[in-house]
């Protein structure tokens, strides 16, 4: 399948009064056409920063891409000027943010906000733009779209607003949709509907989706592949099956163990003890060492080698090393 996005060795830093925070420290990711990639990890692991840097939406200053490349089709997005990146934003790559209650401008009508992207990027008459917006609202499941176009965001419920945000992101028919925790602010029943909507949209438009979340339940429903991030690095990546049934990194295993499961009633949840490392001065070895139940001496001092376990599953962990396997066996 065709690769549409290829992130190589991405480093992003934020300069603060306290020093330089290395939020993303060498992320490698790729995405194929029509695929859904989920990026999971706890708060502060750099998943949102990674996603925002694809569209150059990290606040700058203080944020800065210090190293690496992001290839979208044939262009390196990190080297593009602000003017050129604006032609990509909303047209080729769209983004959906976490909170639909604040993502829409309260003073403009929904129709106005839906069509302004179209009018900005494509030569289109007001009438045609309106028609297209109504069609889009139909697709995301908003009843009476014609009347709703004239209304303001406060006249919609949270779930409806998220549908509008999705419609807004899709109206220029982008090839890549980045959804930053799109269901976190919604209640559970609405969450399921929105996830179904993502599936439906992908079927109809063939859009590739990067889904950022910390909710493994969401991931299980719609992701094709999963990348697990920790302390600014992707520590394990694999298909949904591989990550859920054959996780190799102790952090991934811990993450899955800390999720409540219906088929294991009564068992206590196993939390991952400790907190992630301070990214002002990230550890030189594996960042998970301090919390890892299987940590060895080498983990603390040297970053693990990147190991390919299958065509799709890759992991950064010393346990995959031949010597470690021998050591554990004895």
């Amino acid at each position: 399948m065709e690769k549409i996005l290829d992130i190589k060795d991405l480093h992003v830093s934020f300069t603060t009064y306290g020093g330089e925070v290395q939020a993303v420290r060498g992320v490698n990711l790729d995405l194929h056409k029509g695929e859904t990639l989920a990026i999971v990890g706890e708060s502060g692991c750099g998943k949102s920063v990674t996603a925002s840097s694809i569209m150059k939406l990290i606040p700058s200053p203080p944020g800065k891409i210090t190293k690496g490349s992001i290839h979208f089709k044939d262009q390196d997005l990190t080297k593009m000027s602000n003017k050129d990146i604006r032609k990509i934003r909303g047209v080729d790559i769209s983004m959906i943010f976490q909170d639909p209650m604040t993502a829409l401008n309260p003073t403009l009508t929904v129709g106005d906000q839906l069509t302004e992207g179209l009018k900005q990027h494509k030569k289109i008459s007001s009438h045609d733009a309106n028609e297209q917006a109504i069609e889009m609202l139909n697709l995301v499941g908003i009843p009476n779209p014609k009347e709703r176009m004239k209304q303001h965001p406060h006249q919609f419920s949270g779930g409806m607003r998220q549908r509008i945000v999705i419609a807004m992101a899709l109206i220029c028919e982008p090839e890549l949709l980045i959804a930053d925790e799109p269901t976190t602010a919604l209640d559970v029943t609405i969450q399921a509907q929105i996830l179904q909507l993502f599936n439906k949209i992908q079927e109809q438009t063939g859009v590739s989706i990067i889904l950022i979340t910390h909710d493994l339940g969401v991931v299980a429903k719609i992701a094709d592949r999963i990348a697990v991030m920790y302390a600014g690095k992707v520590i394990e990546v694999g298909t949904r099956r591989e990550i859920f049934y054959n996780p190799q990194h102790p952090y991934t295993q811990g993450l899955l163990n800390s999720v409540p499961r219906l088929d294991q009633r009564g068992d206590q949840l196993i939390p991952i003890n400790g907190t992630p490392p301070d990214l002002f001065s990230p550890p030189k070895g594996c960042p998970f060492t301090a919390r890892c139940p299987k940590a060895m001496e080498v983990c603390e001092n040297v970053y693990p080698v990147h190991t390919k376990l299958s065509d799709t599953q890759e992991v950064d962990c010393w346990l995959q090393d031949e010597r470690a396997k021998k050591y554990i066996a004895t």
Binding site: L57, R89, F97, T102, T107, L108, A169
Partner: protein, 310 residues
């Protein structure tokens, strides 16, 4: 909407009535009478004069006559300038005061908002600091000080513009600068802080993600939300500009309403005091009403005809 306007209209009438009543009794509580200064007139002449202006009648009767004059909007002749009626004074003075006031508000709004927006967009840069220094100076210097300052520097020393009176556009520049600087500074500071807050909102991020140009993001998405606090203080600013015109008109010898108002009070020219006060308060109350209507236009969440918004 119509219901709201009708309600507001009756409230306006009530407000004006209270102001008029207070003015009437306060005015009569001030010692002295219009004829104090005229030492030459004898008792009989004075009695005749008082009779002519209905000043010999008991206070309640005067009050009723006065209310009647408000309703018919005919305040009768001025006591001190017998050849003039109050209405003719207002008719002559108001256009000039209004011209000064409208220009002042326009200049203050346009320059204040521009300064505030630019400062917010260049936050913590040189332009920001410069704009805010100007703003702090503008707030701290009273308009009468600024007025004498600009007259001295621009009119007397540099001889660039005329120092006083109101004959041509050149004459208007100095009074407008003196009067607009304070409101401009307040608007600039307010716009800056509310713009800074608006720019961090999620919908601005959404707008950026759509690929809109920075200009469109600022003007279409940010400015409208950032201007809400400015609209809120517009009413107070209007009142400030209005009272400011009294002083500025005096300093620049502008023949506006302020001059007659101050003169009327000094000379206890009762009909003139009444007329100008009622006129000023009616004008101000109407402006405040307009400001309230503007709210609803700027922010659709504010529904004027319903209680409690949504």
């Amino acid at each position: 909407m119509l219901k709201y306007i009708v309600k507001r209209f009756f409230l306006m009438i009530l407000t004006i009535f209270i102001i008029a009543t207070l003015t009437f009794f306060l005015m009569n509580a001030i010692p002295g009478s219009p004829f104090n200064e005229e030492k030459t007139s004898n008792a009989v002449v004075q009695q005749n004069l008082e009779k002519h202006f209905n000043l010999d009648k008991p206070l309640p009767v005067q009050y009723v006559l006065y209310l009647k004059s408000i309703i018919t909007f005919d305040f009768g002749p001025s006591i001190k300038q017998p050849t003039e009626t109050v209405n003719s004074l207002l008719g002559r003075g108001f256009p000039i005061s209004a011209e000064l006031g409208i220009w002042t508000i326009l200049v203050a709004l346009i320059s204040g908002i521009t300064l505030g927006v630019v400062a917010a967009l260049r936050h913590n840069k040189l332009i920001d600091y410069t704009a805010m220094t100007i703003a702090v100076l503008g707030i701290s210097i009273p308009n009468f000080v600024l007025a004498t300052l600009v007259i001295q520097v621009i009119a007397v020393d540099l001889k660039l513009l005329p120092a006083a009176t109101w004959n041509s556009p050149q004459h208007m520049i100095l009074p407008i600068i003196a009067l607009a600087t304070g409101p401009m500074a307040i608007i600039a500071r307010l716009t800056r802080s509310s713009m800074l807050e608006t720019l961090t909102q999620d919908y601005i991020k959404t707008a950026r993600a759509k690929g809109l140009s920075p200009f469109k993001i600022v003007v279409k998405h940010a400015l409208r939300n950032a201007l809400m606090p400015v609209v809120t203080i517009l009413g107070t600013l209007l009142a400030g500009v209005l009272t400011g015109t009294f002083v500025i008109e005096k300093i620049f010898a502008i023949p506006g309403m302020g001059k007659y108002f101050v003169q009327g009070i000094n000379q206890r020219d009762y009909p003139v005091i009444m007329g100008t006060t009622v006129f000023y308060s009616t004008f101000l109350v109407m402006m405040l009403f307009l400001v309230d209507i503007m709210y609803g236009v700027l922010d659709p969440r504010i529904k004027l005809h319903k209680k409690g918004g949504e």
